[in-house]
């Protein structure tokens, strides 16, 4: 009797981004609003960051709600039913449950059950991490269609009175469907991490610290309203960054990563139709474009002016706007790069849907 031969999933040669969806929550926060909380001005914020407004979600709109809105549009644009999805990936750092995942609930809401569903924690690089995984899943035969979502409600983890990062941040969600393709549609992913800079961007303290502080502190019931608010603010972890360290890394190290993604894809800067970097700060975007020596013909995504920095959602949101405002870019090549807390980074060249 001959030994049984194991069957492996047939490989798929090419993949592509099939459709992109966006959800932008309806609360608009202007720079004048921000200046109620920090000593600054509209002009200063525009000059330093390029941000004019950011969208934030009201209390009754969750990360999963926003993810659902973006996903429905992405599925429709891709012409795919949720039941055809072979995996659902949500990148987020603001889903307020350590478990269960946002992705499992999202898959159920969309009607994708029993598709495998999981969240990834890669902050502002999360969307590009998701694309790297979706591309690998489809090409390996593990899934035919994969939904990749970046969804963030950063307004839940900011302290409006601090000056390093909170005023940059907005809420929102962007989603794409990845599927098989006749022609190459997603270049090799260049992705990685540098945990030696773990402290450069992150939360003020951990969940265990909250427990300890809550136990050590007086019961908030025994405090006056003002004291209770201060205690609560001190307990709640919020985001901070070392802006200078992050800026240097984001521009000069990430320009190298972006160039590696171009080289890996066999594409020159002048072949690009668009450059879609993580929308962290307009000056990072401008300086990166300069370092990459992008010709004027390359459209640079600048969704940050209106949307602020939305972490994992920023690249798909920026892609969505770019295609809405410049439909002729469809079918062109775009270089996308995400980078953020970890530190982590990911980049690839894609064909725009």
């Amino acid at each position: 009797m001959s030994a049984p031969t194991l069957k492996q999933a047939p490989l798929q040669e090419n993949t592509r981004v099939m459709g992109v969806g966006a959800y932008r929550p309806n609360v608009i926060v202007t720079n004048d609003d921000v200046c109620q909380w920090i000593d600054s001005s509209d002009e200063w914020i525009r000059q330093r960051t390029g941000i004019i407004t950011r969208h934030r979600a009201p209390a009754d709109v969750s990360v999963i709600d926003m993810a659902e809105g973006a996903s429905r549009e992405a599925l429709e644009k891709a012409g795919i039913e949720a039941s055809q999805l072979g995996a659902v990936i949500v990148s987020t750092v603001t889903h307020p449950y350590a478990t269960p995942s946002a992705a499992a609930s999202l898959a159920d809401r969309l009607g994708a059950t029993p598709a495998p569903a999981f969240d990834i924690s890669a902050a502002c690089a999360g969307y590009c991490y998701g694309i790297a995984q979706a591309d690998a899943l489809v090409r390996s035969g593990a899934a035919k269609y994969v939904l990749v979502v970046g969804a963030e409600k950063l307004s839940d983890v900011i302290d409006n009175t601090e000056r390093t990062i909170s005023f940059l941040l907005g809420d929102g969600a962007g989603a794409v469907v990845i599927g098989p393709s006749d022609a190459p549609g997603i270049g090799p992913s260049v992705w990685g991490s540098d945990g030696s800079k773990w402290d450069a961007i992150g939360m003020t303290h951990s969940m265990l610290d909250i427990r300890e502080l809550a136990m050590a502190g007086k019961s908030t019931a025994a405090l006056s309203d003002g004291e209770a608010a201060v205690t609560q603010a001190a307990l709640w972890p919020t985001l901070r960054q070392d802006g200078q360290t992050v800026f240097r890394w984001a521009v000069w190290e990430m320009a190298k990563v972006a160039q590696q993604a171009l080289d890996a894809a066999g594409i020159r800067a002048e072949d690009l139709a668009a450059f879609i970097p993580h929308q962290a700060n307009m000056r990072i975007i401008d300086e990166m474009a300069k370092q990459l020596k992008l010709p004027e013909t390359v459209k640079v995504a600048r969704d940050i002016a209106e949307a602020g920095n939305t972490s994992a959602a920023s690249i798909p949101l920026a892609t969505h706007r770019l295609l809405q405002e410049n439909p002729e870019l469809s079918g062109g090549l775009a270089l996308q790069i995400g980078f953020g807390a970890g530190l982590v980074f990911g980049a690839q060249v894609i064909v725009l849907p």
Partner: protein
Amino acid sequence: MASNEEILAGLAEIVNEETGLAPEAVEMDKSFTEDLDIDSISMMTIVVNAEEKFGVRIPDEEVKNLKTVGDAVNFISNAQA
């Protein structure tokens, strides 16, 4: 190896490119933030360009100590030595 005068001139060129400030405004005793109105992001751009121009390494934690143009010139000069 560059003299302090050469480093100052080179630095002034970099500052001019980043901010548009006249090179002659970049003097040894001038504070980057107070006198030249250079913000933290522009400062980082100047630091990286200075590293390239003078072939030195200026670590992130050192940038905070470079208050005046003279601090930067001296740091670069010592780093080159």
